[in-house]
Every structure is written in C-alpha cells, then in structure tokens.
Symmetry: C2
Subunit: 310 residues, 2 copies
C-alpha cells in the first residue's frame, strides 16, 4: 500500500442550460489537487492548504474536502486512522466552475486510493456530495458527479444519486470564460422565483429531452436547438453584466449553444472542434476585456476521466 497518494479532480459546468441542478460535465482543466498520506499521528486532519489565499478553514467539519474525506473514513471504519490531507487549490473560488465540488471529489478519491480502493467511484459519490453540501448547503451532485466520474452526467434524482453518464459526440468542445465578478451561489439561488410558468416548463422539458436525444444520436443540429434555457438563464443573466453580449459573441462565432455555468459568473459555450472552440472563447473573453473586466478562459473537450491519480 502506498504511503502517499496525489490526485486531481477537474472543474465542471453544472446546469448546462437545460438541466438545472441535475446536469453537469467535466472540463480537463482547471481543477484541484489533493494529497492523502498515512501519518504517525492518530486521526484524520488537514495538514496543508495552498492556493486559497488563506480563505479555507482547517477545521474538518467546515472544509468541503475535509468533511467529504472524513465522512468516507467514518463509513469505512477508518476515522481513527492516522491520515492527513493536503489541499492544493488550483482553480478559482466562486467562479461557477464547481471549485468546492472538485475539492470534495478529489478528497474522497484520494482517500479511497490510499486505502486500496475499497469503493467504486459511484460508491464514493455520496461522500463527495456530503462535502459539497458544506460549501453549498444543498445535497446535489451536478458538479460533484462529473468532477468525480468524468463525462456528461445526468442526475435523475439528487436524493437517490441516480446518476447516468451520457454519450458525448466526438469533437464536442467547451469554451469557458470566467470574468472576475463576484456572485455567491446563495445570491444566484436567491434571485430564482420559487414558481415557474407551466408553458416555460413544457419548453424546457422538451429541450432537456432533445438534449439527451442529441447526445445519443450525435445530432449537433438538435443539440443546438435544444441548448436553450428558458427558465433559469433569464432570471440569472441579470447578475452577470454583459451576459447577452458574451452569448451573442459565442453564437456569432459558431457556438452550438451558450449559457451560464452553474450559478455563474462563468459562461460556457459548446461547439464542434478545438479550433472553433478557441475562436469562440476568444470572442467571449474580448467582450469582458473590452469592458476592462479581467477574464480567464478555458477550452476543453468533455473530460471523460473525472478524478485521476497523478
């Protein structure tokens, strides 16, 4: 058994226009790294956090990765074992790219590998979601599941973690821009009305169904028609300045679709092929930089691996 394990878990895009709280996909980069190792000292602890500008707590129950790892260790009857965790944040907080989910996914994956992989990735999911819940308050897997499992993931039901990895057409690429604007997930949730009009629900449900069909049939035209959020995006777009200009820039440059990543402020677009995705991300980023807003950009195929050992 190895004495020390280093893993990576990627960022993810949740909601994906048509699947509020139940759909997400993993990016190749950015992501978080976590080291888990056996230690002489009994019990579980967080020994080091880097890249967080001092913002993350060392107290296990308050730390996403810490609580996820501890919950898993408790389940395995190993909570008294001497194990320490290093958390290396390599991606931005509050970006809408599943930063806390990446930490939680990496944490449970690292612990599991360290202990000889007693559980499957799917079995680990519950514990990662418990960690994510520390940051987000809600038990949902739309970031954690893709970060851990990889791929495009549908969570039919968050409560039961009824998760399904969907087929992804060859050449499907994501372009993501993260403008340096602050939006808290709880504000992004707060802006949503508790009720939605039935006619919009019918449209959105049709779009979700069309989205799933398009993936199984590699039908990019149907994917494009389906990637249209009539429920959540109109409510949240107000929180992101220049959102509609960025979306227009993406679509004008050939994007299949474009919407808010998770609770924002990051914005994602999907397209066919890396070259197109690169042009799109540049056009999207230019809207923000022209306004003097600092912006990070990422281009990635759908990451099929999820959490991996480094």
């Amino acid at each position: 058994m190895d004495q020390s394990i280093k893993v990576f878990a990627p960022a993810s895009v949740a909601n994906v226009a048509v699947g509020y709280d139940i759909l997400g996909f993993a990016l190749e980069k950015p992501g978080d790294e976590i080291v888990a190792r056996f230690s002489e000292k009994a019990g579980f602890r967080i020994s080091l956090i880097t890249g967080d500008k001092g913002k993350l707590p060392y107290e296990v129950p308050k730390n996403t990765a810490g609580f996820a790892a501890y919950s898993l260790l408790k389940h395995l009857g190993e909570s008294e074992r001497g194990i320490e965790l290093e958390i290396h944040k390599k991606m931005p907080f509050g970006s809408g790219l599943g930063s806390s989910a990446a930490s939680a996914a990496a944490a449970v994956f690292a612990i599991n590998v360290l202990l000889g992989s007693p559980l499957s990735k799917k079995e680990l999911l519950h514990f990662a979601v418990l960690g994510e819940q520390v940051a987000d308050g809600a038990y949902h897997a739309d970031n954690v599941a893709p970060s851990l499992l990889g791929g495009m993931v549908l969570i039919r039901n968050n409560k039961d973690l009824d998760v399904h990895t969907l087929p992804v057409p060859d050449k499907l690429y994501a372009s993501v821009v993260y403008p340096h604007i602050k939006i808290l997930t709880k504000d992004a949730r707060g802006v949503l009305k508790p009720d939605v009009p039935l006619d919009k629900v019918i449209q959105q449900t049709g779009n979700m169904a069309g989205f799933i069909i398009s993936l199984f049939r590699s039908d990019f035209d149907l994917l494009s028609r389906s990637l249209n959020d009539v429920l959540i995006e109109p409510q949240r777009a107000t929180l992101i300045p220049h959102f509609y200009q960025v979306k227009k820039a993406a679509l004008d440059n050939g994007a299949i679709g474009c919407s808010i990543s998770g609770a924002g402020p990051s914005i994602f677009a999907l397209s066919k092929g890396k070259e197109s995705a690169t042009e799109i991300v540049n056009a999207m980023a230019k809207v923000f930089s022209d306004q003097g807003i600092q912006v990070e950009k990422f281009v990635s195929p759908i990451n099929q691996s999820g959490a991996i050992r480094l």
Copy 2:
C-alpha cells in the same frame, strides 16, 4: 392512381407521465378508419360519418378530419378537386386516447395516398395538427404525431414540430383502461395551475431525462424510476374517481409505471411482455367494474407503424 383509399390511424397515449404536451405513443388498437375517394363533383366534402352517434359535424371547417384533409389539399393546390371523405369512428370520444388526433392523422394520410403520396408522413404532420386544433384549440402534436408516425414520439417543440421517434425496448407493452366517465379536455386543462414549483420541475425534468435514457439503453429499472409524474398527475387525478386504486392495482401487478392517458379519464400502464400487460389491465379494470363503472380495456405493444393503408 387508385380511385379509393382506405386507411387506419391508431389511438395514442399522450403525456406519458413525464412529457406533458410533448410525449406520446401509439397503440395498435383501437383507432379510426377513413376512406378517401375521387368524386365527379368538384371540391372537397365529407360524404359519410359512422360510429359517432351523430355527434360529429359534416361542415369541413368544424370537423377535425375534414379540416386536416382540406388544409392539406389547399397546400397541394388540390382544394377544387372532387374528393370525398368517409369517416368511420371506431374508438371512443373524450377518452383521453387521442380520438380526434386519430381522425386527423388518418385523414391527411388517406388524402396523401390518394394523390400518389406527394408528401412524407413528417410533412403531413402539420396538416394533421391543424385538424386536431379544431377539436382541442391548441396546436400540439403529442397525440397526432404518434398516431400518424407510430412509435414513442418526443415533440421537442410543438410550434416547430421538432419531432423525434424514440427507440422502444423489446417487449414494452401498454395496458390501457377507459372508464366510462366524462372529462372534457378543456376541464382537464382548466384544473392545472399556470405556475408550478421549481423543485417539482427539477424532479420532473430529471424523470424526463431518465425516461429518454432508459429507452436508448433498454433499462427497465430506470424506466420504472423515471415514469413518475410529480407535476400534472397530482392535479388531474382528482378528476378521475378511484385513480390511485387503479394505479396501485397496476403497480401491484408488476407495472413499470402507471399514469393518466392524455387528459384522461383513460389510464395507462407500461410493463414488460404481453402476459404481464394482460394481468395488469385486468387488475386495473376490476377496480372500476367493482365500483359499477363500465370500463373498456386494451393491451398493446407500442405501435411502430402509425397510420397505415388497409
């Protein structure tokens, strides 16, 4: 060119628990028959209606089949041609089994065949929906599309008729009971609240996604978990006496799922294999007959043919 054409279009189950207004499937029986023939007398007319107990109008613009056929003839520049239509209703009205849709689908299919099939079935769909609109007031294809095209059909968007025929697992059977209770579609629509809670929408969208995935993967367990209507059924079930007992009878006898067919009062269940479907339909029907309510029952695989020439 034949001088006379006789066709059949089948009944259908719309909504299918998770796809209010956007999902439907065709049954093998019952259904309507329509005869279209050339006539000496110029212009289009309805020459005979049987099986309707005198309820259906002969005036073309007021008759579902008549208006569908006339709309198609006008589109083809053949509205002055001497053509007459016989409508033979062979299925109940107001049953929630797409009676008017079957007539509309049969009408356009008959006219098209009579004229040497200038259009594809998909091209005919718009005209059949125009006919259905006469009966229902709304332009939607959740009964017409399966009745015409056959199969399990998702209508991503009714306005654009973006329709998709879904794969259906072998041995998927429908059990349908039609209790002789009167519900008008407009009453069934009237009972629905214009807004729905977002948390229920998330559940329903997850179920729709799960439903589609289950069909592509022939996953009966996922189909069963997904076939759960948390939005519409709770509102409409009150219109159908003994609904929950019938549903329980279906599920207790091995049904994968059970819900209201269209606007009701018919109730459908899905199951695996004809034998199971027959047991289920008998158990469902018994609940009504024990209460002294007359009930018709149907067992059918998913009809893959839709409208056919007889």
